[in-house]
Symmetry: D2
Subunit: 350 residues, 4 copies
Amino acid sequence: MHFASDNWAGAHPQISENLTRRAAGFVAAYGASDLDKAVEETFSAIFERQVAVFFVATGTAANSLSITSMSRPGGVAFAHREAHMIEDECGAPEYLSGGTRLHAVDGELGRVDPRKLATAVSEFDPDFVHGGRPVGISITQSTEIGTVYSLAEIDAVVKVCRDNGLPLHMDGARFANALVSLDTTPAEMTWRRGVDIVSFGGTKNGCWCAEALVVLDAEKADEIRFIRKRAAQLFSKSRFVAAQFEAYFEEGLWLETARHANEMATRLADRMAASSKIRLAWKPQANEVFAVMAKALMEQLRSRGAVFYPWKTPRSFAGRIAEDETLCRFVTSFATTPEEIDRFGVLIAR
Amino acid sequence: MHFASDNWAGAHPQISENLTRRAAGFVAAYGASDLDKAVEETFSAIFERQVAVFFVATGTAANSLSITSMSRPGGVAFAHREAHMIEDECGAPEYLSGGTRLHAVDGELGRVDPRKLATAVSEFDPDFVHGGRPVGISITQSTEIGTVYSLAEIDAVVKVCRDNGLPLHMDGARFANALVSLDTTPAEMTWRRGVDIVSFGGTKNGCWCAEALVVLDAEKADEIRFIRKRAAQLFSKSRFVAAQFEAYFEEGLWLETARHANEMATRLADRMAASSKIRLAWKPQANEVFAVMAKALMEQLRSRGAVFYPWKTPRSFAGRIAEDETLCRFVTSFATTPEEIDRFGVLIAR
Amino acid sequence: MHFASDNWAGAHPQISENLTRRAAGFVAAYGASDLDKAVEETFSAIFERQVAVFFVATGTAANSLSITSMSRPGGVAFAHREAHMIEDECGAPEYLSGGTRLHAVDGELGRVDPRKLATAVSEFDPDFVHGGRPVGISITQSTEIGTVYSLAEIDAVVKVCRDNGLPLHMDGARFANALVSLDTTPAEMTWRRGVDIVSFGGTKNGCWCAEALVVLDAEKADEIRFIRKRAAQLFSKSRFVAAQFEAYFEEGLWLETARHANEMATRLADRMAASSKIRLAWKPQANEVFAVMAKALMEQLRSRGAVFYPWKTPRSFAGRIAEDETLCRFVTSFATTPEEIDRFGVLIAR
Amino acid sequence: MHFASDNWAGAHPQISENLTRRAAGFVAAYGASDLDKAVEETFSAIFERQVAVFFVATGTAANSLSITSMSRPGGVAFAHREAHMIEDECGAPEYLSGGTRLHAVDGELGRVDPRKLATAVSEFDPDFVHGGRPVGISITQSTEIGTVYSLAEIDAVVKVCRDNGLPLHMDGARFANALVSLDTTPAEMTWRRGVDIVSFGGTKNGCWCAEALVVLDAEKADEIRFIRKRAAQLFSKSRFVAAQFEAYFEEGLWLETARHANEMATRLADRMAASSKIRLAWKPQANEVFAVMAKALMEQLRSRGAVFYPWKTPRSFAGRIAEDETLCRFVTSFATTPEEIDRFGVLIAR
């Protein structure tokens, strides 16, 4: 019963096999191989327009270099208070972007509140040299707490961007999970609405290490070539990422693994909803389930083999957890089985 | 006839297979798995002392974070003029270390000249705030041009370090090739002589992406945890690197692949030495061969399927190449076959 | 009626005259002159212990380099939400310190709430590489909104520092105003309580440009020499700052100018308290007065020659200003005259 | 006999007096005062076109922020090997510009050799992500060793800039000394030839602290507002710099002080030329004289009250100093008197 994180799972067999298949032979390094180029074309096909793709080592790198590419001296970028780049990246976005400040914006259920966002941005006069100036906005899709921005909710954020002339970044560490949750297309979820740059994550959804910046603005793309290399994020044997993405996209594997992960989350949520010992914190929309339970129960479940961790209470959920309770996160993935869920269901049903 | 670079080769089958073997199941992320820890122990066994190991994405990252860990405000680090970190890393060491200057030192055949090094260091008064202050020295083993520092030559560099209280970094992107060339041990080639931190590369020697900082000073190690994460270089599914190193070290695979690559380089050099059309620039000691030939011949050879590139003339070799000639680099790897060499030998023998 | 800011005033005549007196003759540059050294000794006398003093160009520089000297990779520093370094320094502390994050802590009346501070610090596990780690705490004395930490309140902050092994920085852009307000000594207000480093400002209190880092830890001091030069903050004709501080400290001029400024603030507050048109936002303790008035009145007063500006409502004062009202700041200085105050008093009394 | 440096002199009486004159009264801070604006207009008049002017604290700041404004990720800037920004700024340009590399170019007598410059630039392919890319060129006028680029020599450097699409920075720490030496105008010496940005120094020529970036490209100018503030280089009582420049430019004071300093250098050189004990290293063109003498003589002269220092031998002068000799620098300034020179002349004539 492994619910610790989707990055505790290994690699999907088809991805692993493709790596083996692509291991032989000589090809150009640093992204210049035919395979690299073919995969870049696949990205363009999937996004329904010519995009520039930059493989990087980690989601933190994708986020940090996105911020770097948007930033200017004295820059302030806006993100949800509980966004990964604020909570979990050790200051990498600030460090790599030359000191861009990340400004936390609140919002229910992991989503930036567009009115609060507009207010936060409006507090910075872009011409006032002392306060810093807005340079971009970032949203996470799906969010850190397993919810998803609807297309209309993305539109509302885009409106703030447009009103203020700001680019929009999407942290898509769990892009596929959001995509299948919304039953939409990459184009609809991104550039057709107004997203400018995407941290496109494959790692959590079945790859070993497959993260990419997907950039829609060709001019920025050229700059990012140098931004990436300067940040020591240009792989030499780049095809090892390309080979992962090749298998990832083949015959919709990525959507299948994401759909599976989401279904497992729903199944888990159903078990929880049926339990009197545990309560769902909010309805999961992707592959993460958050639940409140007694601390004693948490210990008991863990001692019986369930692997999961407590989670810091989101500000918008404050006051809804009793003293002897705790909020816990459960993450499902391509590798989660219905059997595991059901075994866990039995544990909480008892 | 692929001699473009050792990073044009893919992954060694045993490494590829191990990745597949390790793909299944759930394990802790971010380097906390049993496999990660076991591989760290293997490193300690190989180095014959407890070392701290930090996987990173690229050799550039390993070098840059090594420099970062050694540096202080106003820092100046010393390296060979043609070192990778000076010539080929797009300023990553300077950028990631907060502006540490890389000071180029000359020396014959890719090796820092210890006397010139001592002079260069002595030109910086560590107490004089205007000039910057020495913070470390870096050598590359094997060097960018396929030569190797003998143990005595390392000793001579260490002496300069000790005389000036400076730490010594070894860029070991081709560590194994140097090791088998010298027929020595990792301990002898590093800390027993006075090397403090190693960029330990596995990628060029048969892995997909397996680079590590190997740190001998435990205090620095703790700092590097944060230095690495802040630089967006901490892999989540870290075991995919661990699995590569596991296979890499198993039954001496890494020494075998390095020995093979070196032997192929020697074989290639022998073919060149026997040719009247081409001349060896200098004797290869690892897995890179440099040769001078007519530009016309270069084009001819390439049109007949030999893949290799011209190389910028090292300062110490200046004046030894005619107007119509060019210096070219040939790199061998675990995947180079004697047949390829021999086919090339035929081409130049004609 | 100039209440815009204490940096709208010029230089005190005694300081100006001393600059003229010190203008002639040759002395060593970069802080090595006898005058520089004598002033450094005066600092030590005033602080009642040997301190290291570093002149810098601006208060922002003093704050940013203080943060730099305390920081480490992945560092997070804590300051009041409305602190100058958060609100008004264009990201300089983050930029100059290599990306240190400034974490905003709330508190009534411009002072960090020690309990909230303790909670904020406790949310960062110094060993958890993802979240960043606490590296220091900063308080502003007197605060951005004209209040002062009592000695006991400083003690409460120091306790949080000690409990967490963190250094304490004091932004003393208005150090003297706080000092005379508390009727205490520099030693009592700083190191005897546990302050480690002070941004010591003379500019707002009658100098042209006289800012210094005052450092109590000798080891850090040596590092700051390089931190300062690397940040382009080492003056060549350093004596022009030394000459200002020489006059500043002579026969207690600095305390006299601060006392005068504070008295003018009290006088102004008294006039406001007596007015029915305007209400004091909170009791001034140094040289800044904040008042709430109708927007229409603000315009009227400004049209009659009073120079002052609206101020962003502090979070702890939210909800206490009506729609048609505005919060305004009035700053007094060595150059403010009782006559100006009284003229303004007449305006609001009408 | 003070020849240590022009920054050992204090402030010119007219500049000092103007500071006193401007000390009274309230004016807007941060460069918004009428005086600041008037001085900016004076700069435009002097440069014969609308320029943007940014006061900063030090010449190092002016240089570093110029480089920052020109740079891009992976940037390499070119300057003479013995340029101040390479030799004497503790890595500030690299640090403040996010890691831009300074590439040393040789040239006789302190001037960049245009052919060597062209070669150096050509070694970087602006599209090759590994090597870094050229972002700008910097020359020093007058140079670190007291020589001056003729207008034709500037043209030759500009040609390299234009051939490569690179901006040109002029480090004018001793701008006035070069100007009067060439008997030309600021416009002729800068933008009419192709200089884009100038570090305009007043400090060494009679001010206390008056350094400015003078920027010809309006678009860059807006960016520099933030670059400056982010670097903690925006003075609050900015008029104290404005007041210095006001007096500096009044009735050509700056040209007069520079002319005086240059004349004193010529007088000193004449005394040396007439001496058999000492020899001029090269002909001075501005306010610095370099001479070779026996070490014993140096000690003797210093013991008799002459203040001057040895200077590191420029690469282009290597081999021209005997073992028992030393190269020394003598700097003259507005404050140097003919009497001092003559007294020194007597010492070396004996």
